[in-house]
């Protein structure tokens, strides 16, 4: 039996570290509710709930455009990468064909390449095909990158689907596409949702690629916003930087709070790839 003292110290330690995990987020949220003229110092609670700083940040520096840009990029990357991964996962998880192991290893190799490894040539390649500064320069590379994670994830999911189900459908004369659509898809749908949540989060939060690809262009994404405000208003208005930062974090945090089990399961399974 464990003693009551043990239990209390566990709660105390967990509570302390939970507070540490949440404090920086609370602190930036409170900062965002202030105005520049409040001259905030330290940890001060906002006296009024004023959205003034948020509206100011929203209308300045193309921030609103950045939010829409991010929705466009993250939405398209998620939809296309999920569709492609559904197909690769289906092939590698349910079909036996020559070289399947080799193709799988080649695809998951992509899990270890950071954008640092690809961003330099990608920038100049897109320049060569006259796509510099467009959202294509973010969408296409992130699809290419997400397919690695997606293939790894969906193959594992398809491997758990019962073979007998596929064989029975085949005897009934169903083709490969039909089997995927009406027999297997309903089974893998929850896992596919987890994948979508992950890819959306990674794409929404991506910074380096957007910074490089959209330099000198009119297009922008949400994560570039706080960075921009910090640059032009350095030591000027920390409240505006905070408001922009809160708005960048908000969509993902909202989805996280609703679908948190998907997040945690997805990140853990992705992490345990070995």
């Amino acid at each position: 039996m464990t003693s009551r003292l043990d239990r209390y110290s566990t709660y105390a330690a967990l509570g302390l570290f939970s507070a540490l995990a949440i404090y920086p987020l609370i602190s930036i949220l409170f900062l965002a509710f202030h105005k520049k003229t409040d001259n905030v110092t330290g940890f001060s609670l906002p006296t009024t709930i004023s959205l003034h700083t948020f509206t100011a940040a929203w209308t300045e520096g193309g921030f609103a455009k950045g939010m829409w840009g991010s929705f466009l990029v993250a939405g398209s990357v998620t939809a296309v990468a999920a569709a492609l991964s559904l197909l690769t996962g289906y092939a590698l998880g349910t079909m036996r064909f020559r070289g399947s192991g080799l193709w799988f290893n080649l695809l998951v190799l992509g899990l270890i390449f950071p954008y640092e490894a690809t961003v330099i040539p990608l920038y100049y390649d897109f320049q060569d095909v006259h796509l510099s500064g467009t959202y294509w320069t973010l969408i296409l590379p992130q699809i290419g990158q997400s397919v690695s994670l997606g293939t790894f994830w969906m193959r594992a999911v398809f491997l758990t689907t019962p073979r007998s189900l596929v064989e029975a459908a085949r005897i009934d004369g169903a083709g490969s596409l039909r089997i995927l659509r009406s027999v297997l898809f309903p089974q893998v749908r929850p896992a596919l949702l987890t994948l979508c949540v992950l890819v959306f989060m990674y794409t929404w939060n991506e910074f380096l690629l957007a910074l490089v690809m959209l330099q000198g262009s009119n297009n922008t994404t949400a994560p570039l916003g706080p960075s921009y405000f910090a640059g032009v208003t350095r030591s000027g208005d920390p409240t505006k930087v905070a408001a922009a930062a809160v708005m960048v974090a908000l969509p993902v945090v909202a989805v996280y709070l609703v679908l948190q089990r998907h997040f945690i399961r997805g990140v853990l399974a992705g992490a345990l790839k070995g």
Partner: protein
């Protein structure tokens, strides 16, 4: 006994199954399609090869050239690599990365292990709540994290205000502009990002340890410390390796945090390879040198990932 519990894990957590070996095609049922598999594979494969694999190869190729990004490239052989190893600035940047691993990986693993040990020793309620909160830093964009900590470390921010209020005025400083403290301050951001993930990873492993082992240990009179070393630690060896890999790789990349907090300053004290790669390629237009830095960085990351995954597979056998 832990091996048995590993087998009960879902397929997705079991490393890389037989796929590594070329599969014999003889087991196919008559009429089972196979050529069509390539058709399903093709679109994803093309996207991956064109936008990830091929650019990686291009980066390696660029690293052998001298190029300003505008005029034509000139062959430079191993010149960029020679410069990389000779330059004190670049060597220092890789050194900073090693120091950051201490914060990103070692500190967060220590915190994660400590909390795992506590939680396996005494049952707590509200685990779901703690998990939700502790995992939160993983979901926040690194830009946002960087801005939150820029404020915390600001001379008028909460940290210095706290130090002044407890009478430690002399400790208050411009953390991110301090020659000694800037790198540790950046590193602690990494600890903050990582420790929740580490804890949740370790707990996932620890919860698969059969409860009888703990009961047996307690019957033998094992205390908190003995129980940890005899039961918990051996049971989460694999998760520990995974957590170490992940956090080490995060420490090696780390562009977003550095760019948005210190931009490598003060006086280069927080420069890291990925920041130098960006700076050389897109700010001072030394594309070849930047590609060489990117290549070495990618090689180091790959070695960490592959090295630990081999160890991981061996540990499972």
């Amino acid at each position: 006994m832990t091996e048995a519990s590993r087998e009960a894990a879902p397929a997705s957590t079991r490393g890389r199954p037989a796929a590594g070996r070329p599969r014999r095609v003889t087991g196919r049922a008559p009429g089972e399609p196979h050529r069509i598999a390539y058709l399903f594979l093709l679109p994803g494969l093309v996207a991956y090869v064109v936008f990830t694999l091929f650019p990686v190869a291009q980066t390696v190729r660029l690293s052998f050239y001298d190029w300003d990004g505008i005029t034509s490239k000139t062959w430079h052989g191993l010149g960029n690599y020679r410069e990389l190893f000779d330059s004190t600035e670049i060597r220092a940047a890789f050194g900073h990365s090693v120091e950051l691993i201490l914060f990103y990986a070692v500190f967060s693993l220590a915190i994660g292990l400590f909390l795992t040990a506590l939680m396996m020793h005494s049952h707590v309620r509200g685990l779901r709540f703690f998990r939700t909160v502790l995992f939160m830093p993983q979901t926040i964009a690194t830009v946002v994290v960087a801005q939150a900590f820029t404020w915390i470390y600001d001379p008028s921010g909460p940290l210095d205000a706290f130090l002044r209020s407890v009478g430690a005025r002399s400790f208050a400083k411009v953390w991110l502009g301090d020659f000694t403290w800037a790198l540790p301050a950046v590193g602690l951001i990494g600890t903050w990002i990582s420790f929740g993930l580490v804890l949740i990873l370790l707990l996932a492993g620890a919860q698969r340890i059969p409860q009888e082992l703990y009961e047996a240990a307690r019957v033998d009179g094992a205390g908190f410390v003995r129980e940890f070393f005899a039961v918990t630690l051996p049971g989460i060896r694999n998760e520990l390796l995974v957590a170490a890999t992940l956090t080490t790789i995060t420490a090696l990349r780390n562009f977003d945090i550095v760019y948005n907090t210190t931009s490598g300053g003060p006086a280069g004290k927080t420069e890291v390879p990925s920041w130098l790669m960006f700076h050389d390629a897109f700010e001072i237009h030394r594309v070849g040198l930047a590609a060489a830095i990117a290549t070495v960085l990618t090689a180091v990351i790959s070695l960490v990932a592959l090295g630990i995954s081999r160890f991981y597979t061996e540990a499972r056998q």
